[in-house]
C-alpha cells in the first residue's frame, strides 16, 4: 500500500473556510435529517454541506479548500459530512475533535489533522492556505505564517490514501487474493 500513500496528494492548497468551537455534526455540518436517514451517497450529501449555516457553500467551494475549525468539531461519530467533504476534495484542520469524529473522518478518507492548537487564530475565511497532511506543515500565504502541527499518523495514511475504510478493505482483499 506504500505506492498509494506516496502517490496520494497530501498537500492541499486552497482557501480557508473557518468555523468556531463546538460545531455539531447534525445541523452544524449537515442537516440532521440526512444523518437519521443514513444517507451516505456523496452526491446527495454535497448540496447540503454547511447548508443550514451557509446556503450555497457547495457551489463556492473548490477542491483543495481547507476547513479550519475550533475545538470539539463534529461532537460525535457521524460520517455524513466527512463523506461530502472528501468527495469535494477538501481538507479538515481542527483545534480538536472528539476521537470518534476523528476516526469517522479518517474512515471516510478525508485528509484531516486534529490537535492543531489555536489554529483558528492563524487564519480567516478566504485566506490562501497550504497544508501538508503527511508532514503536518501549515502555511497561511495571505498572512505569511508557517506552523508545524501533528500530522496524520503514518498508520492512518494508508486508509486516507485508499479513500477510506471501504477502499482500504477492497485493496486488502485484492492483495490477499493475489498472494
Amino acid at each position: 500500500m506504500t505506492t498509494e500513500i506516496d502517490a496520494y496528494n497530501w498537500r492541499l492548497k486552497g482557501r480557508c473556510y473557518k468555523l468556531g468551537h463546538d460545531v455539531p455534526h447534525p445541523g452544524g455540518v449537515i442537516p440532521s435529517a440526512l444523518i437519521t436517514a443514513r444517507e451516505f451517497d456523496p452526491q446527495k450529501l454535497i448540496p447540503h454541506l454547511f447548508a443550514e449555516s451557509d446556503p450555497g457553500f457547495h457551489e463556492r467551494v473548490k477542491p483543495g479548500d481547507i476547513i479550519v475549525t475550533g475545538r470539539n468539531f463534529g461532537m460525535g461519530p457521524k460520517m455524513n459530512g466527512y463523506i461530502a467533504m472528501q468527495a469535494l476534495g477538501l481538507g479538515l484542520v481542527c483545534e480538536s475533535m472528539p476521537f470518534l469524529a476523528y476516526r469517522a473522518a479518517v474512515g471516510c478518507g478525508l485528509p484531516v489533522m486534529t490537535d492543531c492548537f489555536n489554529v483558528t487564530e492563524l487564519c480567516d475565511s478566504g485566506d490562501e492556505l497550504e497544508v501538508d497532511f503527511r508532514s503536518g506543515m501549515f502555511f497561511n500565504h495571505t498572512r505569511d505564517i508557517r506552523k508545524e502541527y501533528p500530522p496524520l499518523p503514518d498508520a492512518l495514511q494508508e486508509i486516507v490514501a485508499l479513500g477510506g475504510n471501504t477502499g482500504w478493505l477492497k485493496r486488502w482483499w485484492q492483495e490477499k487474493q493475489a498472494t
Partner: protein, 424 residues
Amino acid sequence: MGMTAVEKVLARTAGRAQVRAGDVIYPDPDFIMIHDGLVRGVRRELDALGIDRLAAPDKVMMVTDHEVIYGSARAAEFGVINRNAAKAWGIKNFYDVGRGGHGHIFPMESGLLLPGMFYFDNDRHATNAGAIGAFGFRVGAEISRVLATGTNWVMAPQSVKLTLRGKLKPGVHARDIGFRIARLLNDGALNFELDYRVLEFAGDLDDLDLAARAALCNSPTEMRAYGVFFPPSAAILERARLHAKRPFTPVYADSDAVYEASAELDISMLEPQIAPPGGIQQSIDIGGVAGQKIDHAFIGACGSGMYEDFAIAAQILRGRQLAPGVRMFIAPGSEQSTHRLLAEGLMQTFMEAGVIPLPAGCGPCNDAVVGPLHSGEVSISTASNSNAGRFGARDAKLFLGSPATVAASAVAGKITDPRAMKPL
C-alpha cells in the same frame, strides 16, 4: 516509566514490550463481538467486496441482545439475515435469542470474558469489560475490518485515575456514584475529561462486587469514556476462576504508570441520585425530585443487568405491589440470571408485584423496541441515559436511578428514596 492497566493489555495483544497513549497498534484480540443490529450492514459490505470468509470465525461471538423479541416483520427479517450470516461465516459462538443474553453482561458471568483480556466490539458499552479488569474496544461499523482481517487500528487512549474513598451509605448504589461523577465532570469539579480516555478506578474498591463495577462503567461511558478499568479484587478473581473457560492473567497498573490526570472522590456522604430528563450530567440528590409521578419503570440494561441488581430490587418489591397505573419491566442481563432469579424465588416476587419480565437483553434501552412510552408519559429506569426519545416519544420524560430507587418508585407511583421503603 510504567504502564497503565489498559496499556499493558494492549501491549500484550499487540506483541509489544510497551505501549504508550497515542501509539497506533493492531491488537490481536482474545475475541470479537458483533451485536444483532449491525450484522446486516456488515454482511452487505463484505459481500459487496467479495469477502466471503472471516479471518478467525472461532474468535467471533455474535449476540442477539438489542432486539430479542421480534416486535416487527423487519426484526424477524433481521433475525433470518443474522442466522444466515452466522452460517455463511462459520460462526459457532452464536448467542441467538434465548441462548446468552446481553453481550456486555453474560460473557463476564460465564467465564468467556476474563481479567486481562482484550476484545473488539461494534458497541460502545464494551466498556463494561472494565468491571472484570478487561478492555473492550468499540469500533462501530468498522467491525467489518476486524471480522475480515482479524484486527483494526487502535490508538492507545490516555488513562485518568479516580480514587474512591469511603463506604457507601446503606441504600446508596454504585449507579449513584456514576451519576454523581457525570455531574461533577459537567460542573468542572473533576479535573479531567473523559473523551476517548480510560477511567481507571483505584482506592476503596473491595466493597464493589462485579455488578457494582459494571454499574460504575456505565455513566463514564455516557460521558464519552472509551474504557473503564477496575483492578480485579481477590473476590473478582475468585469468581472469574470459578467460571473461566480458559486460562487468564489479570493485569494491574504499574506504580509509576502515567495518567493524564488524577482525582479523588469521597463517596461516604453520597445520597441516592436521580438523572433527570436530558442527561446524567444534570444528576441531583433524590430529594430534589422526590414525589414526581411516574407511569413506567424499567430495570436492566448494561449498567444494571446483573443478578445482584435484581436481588436489590426484589428486596424492596417482596410483599408489595406496583402502584396503580404503573407498568414495570425487567430485562435480566443473561439467561443464567433469569434462571437463578427463578430458582431462588425472586422472579416470583417480581411477578407477584405486577412486574413484566422480558427476555435477557437490552430491553427498552435499545430504541424502545419493547416497552416504549407515549407522549407526555414519565419513566424511571436504570437505562444508560435519559436522552429525549430513548424510550420512544421525544416528549416523554425519562428519569434514571439505581435499581433500588426504580423499585421503590414503582411501588409508590412516584420518585421515592429507597431508604424510605424498608424490606417487609
